[in-house]
Symmetry: C2
Subunit: 400 residues, 2 copies
């Protein structure tokens, strides 16, 4: 008799974003005349930049001819892309990486989930709260139940303290989804030192690093001394280059990073990851890797920066207008996310329902990101300028 | 202290195909004047067909304009593709599926690995031997060590008997990689009945179904009565449409398929899979899904069939020429794989080294697919006609 993995049953059935979509669709069905404006799910709206489009056309044409057709690529990804990442993303900030330390994938989620499996379920996990809910779910699905929540509150400026309990695996998301707050150099150094002293591993999710404005915020954890001994870094093209429908990401796994057996033998995470990926993953699409490569041309860099600035302008607008209207608002400076304190002691979902039903605006209930998110609400800067302005003015009017 | 998942350490470091590449590269470095011909790794060589190329160009153009740009798609995949799969792949063979039973992915490996995790590690797994080695590795990585090998030998025509021990999860690969042998209707019915009686689950890997020639071979396990209660079916565009570098696949998870808790409560695999995928997987690329859709046009179907026939001609040629030369050869009729009995009591890797070093031909040692593969060798039909002929004539000459 085939037995189910009962750990999966500990997951809540209502994945945050699915529930939002469902509620929104219900509303739309009942109110066909009203246009819903969404500052909800973190999806981009600007089209791909020209160099990316051209690179994909070229790659598609290569696939049409026998001489230039490409079948299976190396599971790790193509050298042409890895090289550009090392040079453009890391060398400029003083970080040196070897080719075999960068792994191309088809999205960060899959790599986050794969990384969870490399480590024993007996590890204690430190999870920011609030944070992207998939981290927690991935651990629960594996049966890892020793979770310490690293609380981000108004009092600590959403920067969690080092935990009193010992943690073996630490998830840091900076700039944070949903609070929009990034860790500065000093704060991040504390965590790296903690991990070095405790032989812990940091999973550093920096998929929003391109939105960083403030100069004292590191873009990569490897800017901190010693981080290569303790951290895996996750990066994605989804938000910075509008690849949410294209699918490309990469993960840095330094060769100096180890985990330990029960007998305290050092095991290289890099070689374990390589071996696991050969078994479970079939490489990212050639065309998509060429698309990613194109953002590293001069024109590509210029155009994606223009797009990021467009979204940053939206973030600034949302933040300023809501502040003017008397809301308490966090984030939005180093991040496309605005973290709004829900007024009038409402709960997050109450606020969601109120906005949807009274002014047809969709956002994301903070409580979906963890207990500490209760009473907060996430707005994103990824809509068009026009829709952002309409949505904000509707919210402001509602609370006048 | 971050502890490693020690199950991963039970994997052999030399993943079969990596070892072949390594040995081949070594030989090439030492013998720069000699052209190596490979009938080894199962990668395609014909370029993508015209309707696929056109569909990708069109999709890329859509991504360049705000009005037609697509961001995140549903994790399950786009309806336009699911609809075509249901209609073209299944309706024609009398199988009815609902939209929410088909899941699009970026390659079968990832889905095979994901499916392994849904079920308890305490299940006993029945694994064909020889078979695609990733199945075993995925189970080992999870710590599932109760494995019953379903032996395929010359004596049983490479069709394993039902096991004497009880098995909860059964991997069937048909047409089989590497033996090239497909299960016929009667044989497959036995397995479906076994699974129904024992509440077991069958993972049916039919990624090579398009190569089936014989009429009594089912293309889908759902052609067998009751299979929807017991089987997940894995399909891929990799070999049938040359998508090894494009990356698209699908998995059928019927809503009537259940696993059981310790208290014998029925759990729907379909809803568990949907929930797990939302957490761990970020959907397949839009452009790639449009590419897959294009094979279901009239022209697309015609052209991919021509390509499949090209490879089938290669398979026939390899089989016939080697038989003429006195080799014992299996497979090659319903499959792109030829399963060669190694002559002169050589071991698989000895034969590999002999072919590589003496006539610069690469194939795949049978023992890499399991113990029962020792003394066998896999040749594939995916090279060009010209290279296939050269490789075969080199092998034949060597053993004259």
């Amino acid at each position: 008799m085939a037995r189910v993995n009962e750990e999966f049953l500990n997951l809540k059935n209502d994945y945050l974003f699915s529930k939002i979509i469902e509620k929104t669709n219900e509303y739309k069905a009942k109110n066909t005349g009203i246009e819903v404006k969404s500052l909800g799910i973190g999806d981009v709206t600007l089209p791909l930049v020209k160099p990316v489009i051209e690179a994909m056309h070229k790659a598609v044409d290569e696939m049409s001819k026998k001489e230039t057709f490409r079948g299976y690529g190396l599971v790790q990804g193509y050298d042409f892309l890895i090289e550009k990442i090392i040079k453009t993303e890391y060398e400029k900030i003083g970080v040196t990486l070897d080719h075999d330390e960068v792994f191309i994938a088809a999205g960060t989620k899959g790599d986050l989930a794969g990384m969870v499996e490399l480590l024993s379920i007996n590890n204690t996990v430190g999870l920011m709260d609030p944070v992207y809910p998939a981290y927690r779910d991935m651990n629960i699905m594996m049966g890892r139940d020793k979770i310490v929540y690293l609380k981000g509150t108004e009092e600590n400026g959403f920067i969690p303290e080092l935990p009193k309990e010992h943690v073996d695996i630490i998830y840091l998301c900076s700039p944070n989804n949903p609070t929009g707050i990034a860790l500065n150099r000093e704060q991040l150094t504390k965590w790296v030192n903690y991990a070095r002293e405790n032989h812990s591993i940091i999973f550093y999710d920096s998929v929003y690093e391109a939105f960083i404005t403030n100069e004292n915020m590191p873009h990569s954890i490897y800017e901190i001394e010693g981080a290569k001994e303790v951290a895996v870094e996750f990066r994605s093209y989804s938000k910075i280059a509008g690849f949410t429908g294209v699918r490309c990401s990469y993960t840095v796994v330094p060769k100096t990073l180890n985990a330990y057996t029960k007998d305290n033998e050092k095991i290289s995470i890099n070689s374990l990851w390589r071996r696991g990926q050969s078994t479970k993953f079939g490489a990212a699409s050639y065309i998509v890797q060429r698309a990613a490569e194109a953002i590293y041309t001069e024109e590509g860099q210029k155009e994606i920066k223009e797009n990021i600035n467009y979204y940053k302008e939206n973030a600034k607008y949302i933040k300023e207008e809501l502040e003017k209207a008397g809301f308490k608002v966090y984030g939005g400076e180093d991040s496309p996310y605005i973290w709004l304190k829900v007024p009038d002691d409402m709960k997050s979902w109450e606020f969601f329902d109120k906005l949807l039903n009274e002014v047809a605006v969709v956002g994301t209930p903070g409580v979906g990101f963890g207990e500490q998110g209760e009473g907060f609400f996430r707005l994103t800067a990824f809509s068009s300028k026009e829709d952002t302005e309409i949505a904000v003015s509707r919210i402001v009017k509602l609370f006048k």
